[in-house]
Symmetry: C2
Subunit: 248 residues, 2 copies
């Protein structure tokens, strides 16, 4: 967000270079254009390659550059706003939800953090629904939705349905429950191998992890762990509210 300085602070060399590079991206390069190689860039700006690499990493964190295997470093398009907080609280899979179910399994093993939120005992069966979210034709997020099996007793046993049909069945059962409340946390994470594959990134790429807790019948009934690409996404909250005011 620019460089408005309220007071003077000494800057490391890579930071100064980042600012210079950022200006060069604005004035000399178009979105999608491939940058010169590191050796040429370092020579042009009169810096060591290590310094250049640090500056390029900064610009990648800020979403200005993308590094892709077999392509090189390109100028990134502006980040896409992705709505995270629905206007009205609804279950995953409700009408208007733009996540697509991929498959589902029933499991007795969930990550410790999820088990803590669901307050399950070891061995309690949980449905794990995998979903994906696509915006403008590109995958932006991958999700694992954990649903207490006892909360959706109408869901057919595992063997009776194929994986995609099973995912839809769990989501349909959820709609029959009263949703009493939900909350969310957002934190920085690194993409797990399978999420990275869904998101077309390398394992460990920075992601924004949104954990949503769904409350029904006085307890946490479902937990969604949604992994958004941090390079291309800007998460939006309550957008429709202010946007409608400004449009009117």
């Amino acid at each position: 967000m620019g460089t408005t300085q309220l007071e003077t602070v000494p800057e490391p060399k890579y930071w100064h270079l980042k600012t210079v590079l950022s200006d060069a991206l604005d004035s000399e390069f178009a979105v999608g254009e491939i940058l010169p190689n590191e050796r040429d860039l370092a020579a042009r700006f009169g810096v060591a390659r290590a310094t250049l690499r640090q500056a390029l990493e900064q610009l990648e964190l800020e979403g200005r550059l993308q590094r892709r295997r077999g392509v090189g470093t390109t100028v990134a398009p502006p980040r896409v706003g992705v709505a995270v907080d629905p206007v009205s609280h609804t279950w995953p899979g409700a009408a208007g939800d733009d996540w697509q179910p991929v498959d589902a399994i029933e499991s007795a093993t969930v990550p410790a953090a999820v088990a803590g939120l669901l307050a399950t005992a070891p061995g309690d069966p949980v449905h794990i629904v995998r979903r994906s979210r696509v915006t403008h034709g590109r995958p932006v997020a991958a999700e694992l939705l954990y649903v207490l099996a006892e909360a959706v007793p109408g869901c057919p046993p595992a063997a009776s349905l194929g994986a995609p049909a099973r995912a839809r069945a769990v989501l349909q059962e959820l709609q029959t429950l009263e949703l009493e409340g939900q909350d969310r946390t957002v934190e920085l994470g690194s993409a797990r191998a399978e999420d990275a594959k869904q998101l077309d990134r390398l394992p460990g790429a920075p992601v924004l992890v949104v954990t949503t807790r769904y409350v029904s019948g006085g307890r946490t009934t479902a937990v969604a762990v949604s992994t958004y690409r941090a390079d291309t996404c800007r998460l939006t909250f309550g957008e429709s509210d202010a946007a409608a005011l400004l449009a009117s």
Copy 2:
């Protein structure tokens, strides 16, 4: 969030090492403990130092490790939940707001992204209020709040007040306006030099940037750009809602 595998995906070497290291952190190290040096760790796990470094970077992204100048790499405490979305929409500086004003200036220069949101013309005067947020005695976030000068005409001219008094004056004037709506975006960024100083981090450290737009009188009147430490913070949205339900 664990390693539940819905299907088998080949993992890079650093990723496997990260999982092994993560288990070791759980079983062998306490929060705050200093890790052995890179040479010893690489030898213990039988990997190259470059692989070790990649794994350590992953664990830092995930908030499991902290690297501090002059201290080394330590085991991080769990991330602290910081409420971002207030239950009722209020102006910055309203009662119960846990941000502290630091100082303020009047400026005609704002970052392009902020100028776009405020729909200002070049040269339009804007108050810039700097604030900080401290949780459990540690700085967690730094903020620049941009307020259209024409929206708070009662604010005394720049020369008549010291910087902290000026910040309070702008915030007080805001409370007299009707707040019609607000929205937020969350994205990954890198700490600017002055934010890094306030947050006790190096410039360029990963941060979560929350941009809040405040609407009054049918237009965007103020924009807050809040920079949260990504290593120690988990941003929470609507927490009180579900938490109250679960406590009852």
